[in-house]
Amino acid sequence: MRAQLSDGLREVRRLNESVARFLQDHQVPADRLHDVQLVLEELITNAARHGGLEAGRARIVVEIGLEADGVRLGVEDDGREFDPMSTALPALGTTLEDRPSGGHGLRIVRRLVTGTTYRRLPAGRNRIEAIVPLAGPPSHSPSSSSR
């Protein structure tokens, strides 16, 4: 399936409702459906926040396909260059007092997906592809980047 969002975060819930229907139609287990929706939410949130996307003018394209090893996601946006897989994660600290309240999204994405690639497209767009595995606990795997 393919969907286009022009209003960033405000459209994520509608997108995720469509994603749920698509994946349920293809008998994807509920826990993996949750992971797919979570990864999409986090990637789009990051694109909107770090890419400087303007509501109403941004263009985010989401592609979802089923493969033998999992659900393949493609997310493209026209924000500033931002590679969510190589960006340094904020330090967690050892105590609650030290713990930042933000920065969890990228950590979640990196734990739930595998086979990630990031590209800065010639048209000035970011494109990230990743797979949410259908079986077994996902673990972080090396990502690759290219420009």
Binding site: L9, D31, I108
Partner: protein, 115 residues
């Protein structure tokens, strides 16, 4: 839309329950109420998330902010009853390292030492 229910609001601890999707929209709808019934009371807090069907990182940030605020007043916070995918997301973000996660209310009371 998410909802917040006040289960118990006594003199020893606060007990609230969250319901629904804690995505960007859901968080906007409960964050102020959540802080008012937990952080503002400065008492140990039980946060029942049994009926939370989706928890995004923004929601985890909200939980951390309230837990940190309570900690400043020597009060703890415990999460109770997450579904398997919600708990996996919490652990992926390593939230369990700073906010205890338990299965039942009586366990939460023990962790908070208010049983």
């Amino acid at each position: 839309m998410a909802e917040l229910w006040v289960v118990e609001s006594g003199e020893r601890y606060s007990h609230v329950a969250m319901i629904g999707r804690l995505d960007t929209e859901g968080i906007d709808s409960i964050e102020t109420t959540f802080a008012a019934h937990t952080a503002a009371r400065r008492l140990p807090a039980i946060v029942d998330i049994t009926s939370v069907t989706f928890l995004a990182s923004l929601g985890m940030g909200m939980l951390v902010r309230v837990a940190k605020s309570l900690k400043q007043h020597q009060a703890g916070m415990v999460l109770v009853g997450p579904s398997e995918p919600v708990e996996r997301a919490l652990r992926a973000a390593k939230i369990d390292e700073v906010i205890p996660i338990v299965r039942r209310r009586d366990e939460a009371l023990g962790v908070l030492e208010v049983a």
